[in-house]
Amino acid sequence: MALEVPKTQYNGKIREVVLGKGEKQVTAGGETAYPFYLFEGEMPRLPRIAMEVYDTPPEEWAEAALEPFAGVTDDPVAWAKKCVTDYGAELVALQLESTDPNGLDRGADEAAEVVKKVADAIDVPLIIWGTGNQEKDTEVLRRVAETCQGKNLIIGPVVEGDHKKIGAQAIAYKHTVIASTPIDINLAKQLNILLGNLGVPDEQIIMDPTVSGIGYGIEYTYSVMERMRMAGLVQQDDKLQFPIICNLAKEVWKTKEAHIPTEEAPALGNAKKRGILMEAISAMVLLLAGGDVIIMRHPEAIRLVREMIIELMAS
């Protein structure tokens, strides 16, 4: 008797969203099954890894995370170029750390100028991530959208409180928005609806469920993402059929365990490898829950995760 394996009854599909523009543009989404369930449906696009770049030299980074970027961390343009040329980045995510009102509080014009320079220097899609301060993000991202008209940047985080002002600019200047909500499927759906009502085309929305790394609450994100995929793929909820982006790197690398030197905690093993594996395993977990684009930092962690993606998709 042949085994009859029950198959999930899918009736939905994740939308395809084009990121960036030109030859190196990337399409995210398109899944018709749960992540890597290729025996049940399709995953026409490989999940992608975006490499992080900061607009200001990082402070207090773990040595392991700084080392691959030695010499370029004070210049976001050189940093971004290094990611693309040396590490083969398929996307770059520029974190606008310097605009934080609680930090350097750099102005919108200055920030937008840096973004423009980075965008002009690389040909891969560029993600622009603000600080989460709604007032400041509104100011900065609006300016960024305008300055980089037509480049199809991926800008965010866009939240309920600032979605109108940032969303309007994204429509006007043709960028993709990152709809960001705090680990809650209902709020995610609501924000997607609001963006739709505003007139942001479905093809210009990608969701950020708010992520954490392993050991720091990744289970919440994991289940919310699984539920988003379930809603989109088997419950015909078209307001949740968007690709998912995970701003992971900073969550992993700020933890205590990614920092402690080998000699201070021998039981935790080699510090460099530990940091890399904490990032790579966190990324694996998010990929298995439905992540389409993962923002990562360490080139070695990225290489490992890419290899696993290829093995999971190997025919």
Binding site: G215, E219, Y222, L277, M284, E307
Partner: protein
Amino acid sequence: MPLTGIEIFKLLPKTNCGECGVPTCLAFAMSLAAGKAELSACPYVSEEAKEKLAEASAPPIAAVTIGTGDRAVKVGGETVMFRHEKRFENPPGLAILISDTMDEAEVNNRLEKSSLSYERVGLTLRPELIALRCDSEDAARFAALAGKVKGGSDSGIILMSSDPSVLAAGLKACADRKPLIYAASKDNLEAVAELAKANSCPVAVKASGLEELSQLTAKLTEAGIKDIVIDSGARAVRQALEDQVNIRSLALNKKFRPLGFPTITFPAEMTDDPMKEALIASIFIAKYGGIIVLSDLQGESLFPLLIERMNIYTDPQRPLATSEGIYEIGGPDENSPVLLTCNFSLTYFIISGEIENSRVPSYLLVMDTEGLSVLTAWAAGKFSADVIGTFVKKCGIGDKIKHKKLIIPGYIAVESGGLEEELPGWEIQIGPREGAHITAYLKAWQA
């Protein structure tokens, strides 16, 4: 299929005696159906009913125990495909491989590593199992290793060989520790089944593909063996994931008994790169592995895997909580700031991490809010001025500091007036709303 409350009710005495702790038999039946009560709580239930209920309530995926005593590890017993549907029950056992061709120093080294453990939110995280593989084809040598490991470790043991005589020798050395026998296959099924029965040990079945696997487990079940662990034989990542998902789905969605057992997986046999091996293991932690055999254990890969496992197997309905008390971070003294937060473990991790990053020695008061986050606890009345006041007075922080200043989370700023009444003489300071702003806040803080 599990019985409904009404079906269970029909089997109960219907006397409403209340001795089980709930007032009526119907209420008890409903609790049983929901998995919130044990049948043994009813003193009057008939033998016939017991049998029927046991049969019907047999889990779709058997739970199998390996090892004995405190360190016995239970795997399987899973009831859902997605953790948010209920919860994942028994975390996969992690095993370190030891070959009988390794020299004594290496064996000792690995035995030592098998006892690596980490404390986190009051839990001890550790690998549970040691997999002993016979590569020498020498039964005596294998038995000697099994004896050594039994004496040198209290971990659960997996005996690995395809040769029944080698397995028999290994069992002679350590059968009383209830090791898992790996593995019965189509070539040795009868002999290995005999060993499992004679020693009352759990047995793993290895096949190539789910079809053959289910035929082999059916034979073992017929022979009266219940404690079975299954290996589909896949050693390529994609096929292995597919098998894990399909086994779980067949067992749960089709109640297909021949595959209703915990699985055993072998990242150790899927790559030569230890970093990659850790990633493969991380897939099986999320996707349905029952036992995960690793070629070696290193802190840098074991620790991330253990915290991943802890996260995935956390009960979504019961947030992890940190114990109440005063946490000293960075060696605070009598002039150090005092911060208050809830005991939702995630909040605790974030806040303590931020305080640590700030390098400002501080006291962190963690109050028992039943694992709820600051805002949720506050909304539920479990984080308001009166209860906080009582906690601050009782916890003894007043004796550790000279100043009387308490920093409360920005989100409960409205409680500050009430707190000043509850804690006469204290100055209540409003801290930041978000953990990310703690560093700046503490750096500017002065006693």
